[in-house]
């Protein structure tokens, strides 16, 4: 980037924006789009629901990508962190239900309380991430995968046996504060954080650990510290995703956060390409909308209702085969470690090599 005389078109374009505004630019673009979406979707609860699910899955995939993709620590218990966030945020919201901030209008006060609940859930999940990250001090590879899996299962069992969390029946009556704008605000935030990490020296250390842990350590990278931090950040966002999820579905129960959910997220990350934020986002959108698309396709074709119902049944075996075929044919996933701007056609204005 600092090569003299190699100023590219996009550098010039960015150069015209005052530096103070540069970081805000994505927000300035996103905010009106979200506001518009919120207005347009007001009439269609199903579209709102679908968009929210897509958003939550994007948050989950992008956050898991920080651990699985960037750090190379194969974690298969992400649903556990999501469960922590969902339940803690749900319980917080339930206990704050009667409280209102008198100096604010009701809607604003609700959103403030919602944010508080979300952050509580996120922090609780981050603490759990810290606990899971610690064993990575001594374990690596397959063993760490198993510990994360075990952790996810332990969370499920604990939730199932705790009175405050509604046991197997789950938690209902959580106020439905979540909105598309809120979900996509967090999507924006997690993508921003993931990209900032990837470009920072912190991220370079994560990549180094991913490529060769022993060599990274020999080069003076504090591998344990970075791995634990990656776990903490990733699980924080998983907790946020859980909290958002809890506030737009009518009921959360332990059945929503099983090993199967963890694997769904892993499939998204692997399909997109381990290490590519763009890939995680696109795979999350694709895999979330695919069953819905197939269902409505079968419905439109006039097939008996049974076929449309079978879509959900067929989904999991297809995920499994997809993993196998991907590993055999394209182990780096759709995007590899590339991002959107690495694959857009050459004639589009873009930066030369280097991280953005």
């Amino acid at each position: 980037m600092a090569v003299p005389g190699a100023t590219t078109l996009s550098d010039e374009t960015v150069g015209r924006v005052p530096p103070a505004l540069r970081g805000l630019l994505p927000v300035l673009i996103a905010a009106p789009v979200l506001a518009l979406a919120e207005v347009l979707l007001g009439a269609s609860p199903f579209a709102t629901y679908l968009l929210s699910v897509v958003g939550v899955n994007i948050i989950l995939a992008v956050s898991l990508n920080i651990v699985n993709g960037m750090t190379g620590q194969f974690s298969i218990g992400h649903a556990g962190f999501m469960a922590v966030g969902a339940y803690i945020a749900g319980v917080t919201s339930l206990s704050l239900k009667e409280v209102a901030l008198s100096f604010l209008p009701v809607a604003a006060s609700d959103q403030v309380l919602f944010t508080v609940a979300l952050l509580t859930g996120g922090v609780a999940a981050a603490l759990c991430g810290f606990l899971v990250g610690l064993p990575s001090l001594r374990l690596r590879g397959d063993y760490l995968a198993i510990v994360t899996l075990g952790f996810g299962e332990i969370i499920r069992v604990v939730v199932q046996n705790t009175e405050a969390f509604g046991r197997a029946l789950g938690l209902s009556g959580i106020p439905q504060y979540s909105s598309v704008a809120m979900v996509y605000f967090w999507v924006f935030l997690v993508v921003l954080v993931a990209r900032r990490i990837a470009g920072s020296s912190h991220g370079r250390s994560l990549w180094a650990i991913r490529e060769d842990e022993v060599a990274a350590e020999a080069m003076g990278v504090d591998t344990t510290g970075y791995k634990v931090r990656a776990f903490v950040i990733s699980s924080f966002f998983a907790g946020i995703a859980g909290g958002l999820f809890a506030h737009f579905v009518p009921i959360i129960n332990p059945g929503s956060f099983t090993f199967v959910k963890s694997m769904e997220i892993v499939v998204m990350v692997v399909l997109g390409g381990l290490g590519s934020t763009t890939g995680a986002i696109i795979a999350a959108i694709f895999l979330t909308l695919l069953p819905e698309g197939l269902r409505s396709l079968f419905g439109a074709l006039g097939a008996e209702g049974s076929l449309a119902q079978k879509v959900d049944q067929i989904r999991m075996p297809v995920y499994g085969l997809l993993l196998v075929v991907l590993m055999l044919a394209r182990p780096q996933g759709l995007f590899g470690t590339k991002e959107l701007w690495d694959v857009v056609p050459r004639w589009l204005p873009r930066k030369k090599k280097g991280m953005s």
Partner: protein
């Protein structure tokens, strides 16, 4: 006191079955350094093969000894074939790739099998659990005092079969040419190939052997549990895997000890605490063991070279 004894017996009986499944994990890991996540689901397929055979032989009729042998034989041979196919088409192409790719493939196969079997299309069995036919009619063999301690015949039979299979495996690994080749491949498969050992064939045979063991263990489990479902492989497989890791994966006696320990721990949790906590305790035990001894109880942590 008698209650403790009863729990001990039940725990050991559960542990022997875990041990048989765990041996499959350990063998494959020993030879390929691959956690064969699909092992439990191969076991499930074997159980369904046995189930189909039992029904083909006659619905609820008491099976003769030869009938039982036939059920086991069909399931074990069928699973050996399935194991061969999985190894040939899913794992062999990835042998020189990073280990994580093979692990992801294994998880994929596990999902394809366990959820594929839940479909109710064509000959697939559907999601609902089925009652396993009474291959061995349960009866109480030893009763101490006034039914204080009860030992069932299937507990003794599965214990004997399990011990027999384990002894056979130990003999195979340490006393035969095939076992020697297996150990050589496990030590360094490239050098083994240079020495004229047909590595591909040895690895395929190891897979077939471990899959056949899994089928046998699965049938014993089904006889004990009297119900079969497509998801049984996921959970029994996970438990057995936990057992193998506790013992130090890749170590045959370690797998057996780990499985017996896990069986006892689970039985005591169910007996003295609450059965709903069983899975959490199993994984908690695993994490605890790994934190203290990262290589498992009998495993060695190899110093990593740069």
């Amino acid at each position: 006191m008698s209650q403790l004894l009863q729990h001990l017996i039940n725990g050991l009986a559960a542990g022997t079955i875990y041990a048989l499944v765990a041996l499959g994990y350990t063998m494959v890991y020993g030879v390929l350094k691959l956690i064969n996540f699909a092992h439990g689901d191969v076991m499930m397929v074997g159980v369904y093969m046995g189930y189909a055979t039992a029904f083909a032989l006659g619905r609820q009729a008491q099976h003769s000894l030869w009938g039982v042998v036939l059920i086991f034989a069909v399931a074990m041979v069928g699973c050996a074939l399935l194991g061969f196919l999985i190894e040939r088409f899913a794992y062999r192409p990835l042998r020189e790739k990073p280990r994580l790719t093979a692990l992801i493939t294994a998880i994929g196969i596990s999902f394809a099998l366990s959820y594929g079997f839940q479909l109710d299309i064509g000959f697939l069995p559907g999601a609902s659990p089925r009652a396993f036919p009474e291959v061995i009619t349960p009866s109480e063999w030893f009763i101490v005092g006034d039914r204080d301690v009860v030992v069932w015949n299937w507990q003794v039979i599965s214990f004997l079969i399990a011990v027999g299979l384990m002894a056979g495996l130990q003999f195979l690994v340490y006393r035969t040419r095939f076992g020697k080749a297996m150990r050589a491949v496990s030590f360094d498969h490239r050098t083994a190939a240079l020495m004229g050992i047909p590595t591909d064939r040895i690895i395929a045979l190891t897979f077939m052997l471990s899959s056949a063991l899994a089928a046998g263990a699965g049938l014993l489990y089904a006889i004990k549990d009297t119900s079969v479902s497509p998801l049984m492989g996921l959970y029994v497989g996970l438990k057995a895997f936990v057992a193998a890791v506790i013992g130090g994966i890749g170590n045959v006696p370690g797998a057996v000890v780990g499985a017996l320990l896990l069986g006892l721990v689970e039985e005591f949790v169910v007996g003295y605490a609450a059965s709903t906590w069983r899975d959490a305790v199993a994984f908690g035990f695993l994490i605890l063991v790994l934190l203290v001894k990262p290589g498992g109880l009998f495993g060695r942590v190899a110093a990593e070279k740069v």
